[in-house]
Amino acid sequence: MNYEAVLALVRRYVFLYTRSKIRLVELIFWPIVDLMVWGYLTVYLQQQGTGGLPRFITFLIGAMILWDVLFRAQQGVALSFLEDVWTRNVINVFVAPVRTVEYVVATYLVGCLRIALTFSVLSLLALTMYEFSIFSLGIALAPFFANLLLFGWALGMISTALIVRWGPAAESLAWAVPFIIQPFAAVFYPVDVLPPLLQVLARWLPCTHIFEGMRSVLAGHPMPLDNLLWAIGLNASWLAIAGWTFVHMLKVARLRGFLNKFVVA
């Protein structure tokens, strides 16, 4: 692994975000909007429910913050590649002495930086606006966070692989992929509310087990180890599939000359 190349790629995104205030704002704007909409909705429901929904606000806001971890991790990987597409820089990067693994590791690190920023802002706002501390998840927060990060990276790699294969026209996939799985991922509701067939599908997603685990912890139960183990096992499989998909699509792109599509994107 050439760490100098990895750092150079990471430095590029740091330059990009520190130079562009709009990009920096974009990182926190939509998460704050979501936090406000979901937060105040749940406050309202709580008032109407005369105490019938005691943990509703914590479930929803916790889910929202953790969903954002997954979403930002996926975006970190996919948007890093798209930045090169938009600036017609893909070819310059692909003809530089950078291995695929170095490129992927750099996008992972960029994802971490993006999440660190968004997560900090959202946690602070949730605490001040709704008196909800994401750290009330206690020690469980670390494995939950790590698993969502891993699954976000896997989805990011799959999104990037599809853009490599189908060219700039497929860039909307960078945003679409996380939302394709969201209804089945039991983010804002328990997996039991899904029809039986969709429950089977949902249990193949690592994040389903994390969100189920999160609700369990917020309800005052101990950290559910079975959920955690399922998430870790599934993440290992998803990362392997994502890695294979990315390498395979890159091979196909080189074989069929698709990379040249990015020259005059």
């Binding site: 017609r88 080189r254 000359g257």
Partner: protein
């Protein structure tokens, strides 16, 4: 006649006229029977050529002749169907990273991120190519291309000529042994194009850098290239020095020949002077 003298007689003329470089007879790039098909379309058909240290080799041809596909295969962007590419004695793509460390590329059709400052872009690529003393190297190049004043400007705010010069700086960051240039002067005014040609010549003569050059501007090619390969429908139509190629085909210039080939549609491959022919002659 000894083998070494045959090889020297076949080597491009620049090698013999450059006093400052060690004359090496091994090609830095060897392309053998390179073929690429896209469905039923044959983009490159059994292409053979060598590039020697200190040589500027032009790949010419009308649109669709196979120049860019050939260059993309050399860079590892496209996988050939058959044939081989060896650079510095190493196989591409098996030793891709080691090879790319010693190569660089610039094209009128690629760009550096427009939302970064000029120095930031060069700093990033210096990191990717493992350049030592990055700051010093960047300053030298900016000075060489007379764009030191643009160092702190946003790349997206530069004119096309300035952008092209920043691209050249990026292409020379790692002091490449082989530089691949795809239509490098396409967006430049004649003055800047001339400056760029002189700098490329200067670097080539000082360091013995080899250049693979594609262009549609035949005057550019005549001014810069030691040897040209004229491609048509993926195959070599003619090769030799620019003057040889034009004269052998009874044309006054490469431009006239280019126009004739472009308008004639199907052209039979006319045998011309190849390295093999030269060896046999000598």
């Amino acid at each position: 006649m000894s083998v070494s003298s045959i090889i020297v007689s076949c080597a491009p003329r620049t090698l013999q006229k450059l006093p400052n470089i060690t004359v090496m007879n091994d090609p830095v790039l060897e392309v053998r029977s390179l073929t690429k098909r896209f469905g039923s379309f044959i983009a490159v058909d059994s292409l053979n050529f060598e590039l020697y240290p200190g040589e500027i080799l032009g790949l010419l041809g009308v649109n669709g002749a196979g120049k860019t596909t050939a260059m993309s295969m050399v860079l590892g962007l496209i996988t050939p169907d058959s044939g081989s590419i060896r650079a510095f004695g190493m196989d591409m793509p098996a030793r891709r990273t080691q090879i790319l460390r010693r190569i660089n590329f610039c094209s009128a059709y690629t760009a550096l991120p427009s939302n970064l400052l000029v120095w930031q872009n060069l700093d990033v690529f210096a990191g990717l190519y493992g350049v030592r003393n990055k700051k010093q190297r960047i300053s030298e190049l900016l000075e060489m291309f007379e764009i030191t004043s643009l160092k702190n400007m946003l790349t997206g705010h530069l004119s096309s000529g300035e952008t092209a010069r920043v691209n050249f700086c990026k292409a020379l960051l790692n002091q490449p042994d082989v530089l691949l240039m795809d239509e490098p002067t396409a967006s430049l005014d004649p003055d800047i194009a001339d400056k760029v040609r002189r700098i490329i010549r200067q670097v080539q003569q000082e360091r013995g850098m080899a250049v693979l050059y594609t262009s549609h501007n035949m005057r550019d090619v005549e001014a810069v290239c030691d040897r040209v390969i004229f491609m048509h429908k993926g195959r070599i139509l003619y090769q030799g020095t620019p003057t040889e190629v034009a004269e052998r085909n009874s044309e006054r210039s490469l431009e006239q020949l280019f126009i004739r080939v472009a308008r004639s549609g199907d052209v039979e491959c006319i045998p011309s002077v190849t390295d093999k022919d030269k060896k046999e002659t000598s």
